[in-house]
């Protein structure tokens, strides 16, 4: 309350989503502040991915709205929402498996520069030196330079994730959405990912991260919302969440 009028980047207001009789999301309100990393945790099937799907326009909410920097996202198409500055890494990597790592990243860069559609046949890919260089640089930064000309479908799962993250970051998004970026990773890879996330965070990026690994959550999150059964049952700083009996119960309930 003391420091009022924080800049809210993403505002989710009263969002409901039901599939038939199943209420995947109910009464969800969420505000993500600029430059902050907001973690969403919760047991399996809590509705976390569904929430991201509503944000990026994959799903239309049954009720409620999603607002980015004061502009309504609800009802817009996925490519429009991305062009407004929302980039997403999926739970299972979504890349262009038949294309090379370089091509994957370049496609993203073209989308940022040229918009949703451009009939660009006057230039060859080789003559697009700006995009080439930008893409190569980020690929090296992400440690994928050895694989730069490989089919991205042949990459390991961890590398695919990295690639997808690079594809998002080359667009310098306003809001970065991460769906379990460390799932299935070894302890070593997880800790390098934490370092990477911290680095991204340090650039002032606004991030929403879904994560099961509490170690990751407590390393990077500024704020945590706990989703269970489609409702937000707790919200607060990582320390508050760690101490909350309610949250423990929700997780223990899942474990049994």
């Amino acid at each position: 309350m003391a420091e009022a009028a924080k800049n809210i980047v993403l505002h989710i207001a009263d969002v409901h989503k039901s599939f038939g009789g199943l209420h995947a999301l109910a009464d969800v309100d969420l505000a993500v502040e600029e430059g902050k990393t907001h973690a969403i945790i919760g047991p399996n099937g809590a509705g976390k991915s569904t929430l991201l799907n509503v944000i990026v326009g994959k799903l239309e909410p049954t009720r409620g709205k999603v607002v980015l920097d004061g502009e309504l996202l609800t009802g817009k198409k996925p490519h429009e929402i991305n062009q407004m500055g929302v980039a997403r890494v999926f739970q299972t990597p979504e890349i262009f498996p038949e294309l090379s790592v370089l091509d994957n990243v370049m496609i993203s860069a073209f989308a940022k520069r040229d918009g949703a559609f451009k009939l660009n046949i006057m230039n060859s890919l080789e003559s697009e030196t700006d995009i080439q260089e930008k893409a190569r640089k980020i690929i090296i930064d992400f440690g994928l330079d050895k694989q730069i000309n490989e089919h991205s479908g042949a990459l390991s799962r961890g590398h695919k994730r990295r690639l997808e993250l690079a594809m998002c970051l080359i667009q310098e998004p306003r809001l970065l959405l991460l769906d379990e970026p460390t799932a299935g990773m070894s302890r070593h890879d997880t800790s390098t990912t934490i370092d990477l996330l911290k680095e991204i965070k340090s650039t002032g990026m606004t991030i929403v991260i879904i994560e099961h690994d509490m170690h990751v959550v407590f390393s990077v999150a500024d704020k945590v919302s706990v989703l269970a059964g489609g409702r937000i049952i707790a919200e607060g700083s990582p320390e508050e969440i760690r101490a909350s009996e309610k949250v423990k119960k929700a997780y223990l309930g899942e474990a049994q």
């Binding site: 990026v56 994959k58 198409k77 996925p78 490519h79 991305n82 062009q83 980039a87 997403r88 999926f90 979504e94 890349i95 262009f96 498996p97 038949e98 294309l99 091509d103 370049m106 496609i107 993203s108 073209f110 989308a111 940022k112 040229d114 918009g115 949703a116 559609f117 451009k118 009939l119 660009n120 046949i121 006057m122 230039n123 060859s124 890919l125 080789e126 003559s127 697009e128 594809m167 667009q171």
Partner: protein
Amino acid sequence: MFKLEKKDAILLLIVALMLIFAPFILNPFPENSGLAQFNAGYPDLMQRFVFFGIFAIGFNILFGLTGYLSFGHAIFLGVGSYAAIWVMKLLTMNILLAIIVAIIISGLAALVIGWISLRRSGIYFSIITLAFAMMSFALAYSVLTPITGGETGLQPKVTDPRILDSALLAGDTPKANLFGLDMTATYNWQVGDWVFTFNVGYYVAAILMFLCFYLSIRIFSSPFGMMLRAIKSNQQRMNYSGLNSKPYTLAAFVISGMYAGLAGGLMVAMDTQVGPERMFWTASGEVVVMTILGGAGTLVGPFLGAGLIKYMENIISKINVGVLHDWFYWLPDWLENFVVTIIYPFVGKGWNLTLGVIFMLVVIFIPGGLVEGIRRIINWFVKRKNISASREITDSDNMQQAGEIQQAGEEAASRGKNNG
């Protein structure tokens, strides 16, 4: 060269040389030899290679890059043809205008049909285009008869208005021309037993095909081409990366439709007639086979596929029972009859059967098509060359090894001696 990568420039050069020297390449056999029937260097067939080459190169931009399999592209071949013939009837016999109008009208047709068909993807898209193909043919045959001439088709008549041309002299027939250059003009060059035919129409078509191929290379190596590949690879990711896949697919559809329209317009420019069978749905299927046979998504594949199919359709189909008996006359009679009976179903009217077998073998064993086959052969030769080059090195290794073995043998022998 022409802002192209070296590899692509070489490819373009090869295609250019093939087009220029086609009258020689396709006529390798002396005129009076028994093999002369395998010569394909006559204007009619050479032109057909080019029409269908253009058709397939364009089709490949849609199917090869985006993976959207249209079963209706012969519609645009037909639309281009009808548009061109009407230009010839109403405006001028100058083929330039006919061809331009053919491209524009077929582009518009592709815009409408593509816009509707592309609401769905995968098999549903294919079926919608197939439905359009059947409808177009039926329409050309029935309701649209005033425009299409129905079953008999259309051709320029002496009595047509042709408002841009000066009146024909008495007894003259309208001739397709390019600023006065007659498309049917032909020059035969006799060299010993060989005859080579140079036809104006063929070379005009070949120049256009060269341009089409060049444009196709540019599209393949452009950011636009990369987006089309992205559509085939993962449309979801495209959309979430901020790209609208719809207009990209539609653009590819329209471009390929315009290629087909150009091919159709050229057909009319060369033989000044059209009938609805040109857009029968099997013609749409044929271009699919051409593209896959040659190698979908490769630059020259569709052109090769088109060439092979048109060659078989025109050359293999000419082999009849008499020809077969001539070939195998040296066998004992019963064996000759047997062999002819076995082979006959696969040649002559049965050329489709041979094509079917070839198509199946290619799809099963070299799914990348003829282009992949050629690449494999080249790789095999390169590898062999490398092996023989590296043999000299390994030879010295072997020598050393042989020395070691000999030494070991001697040691063993001396040990044996000691033990004994």
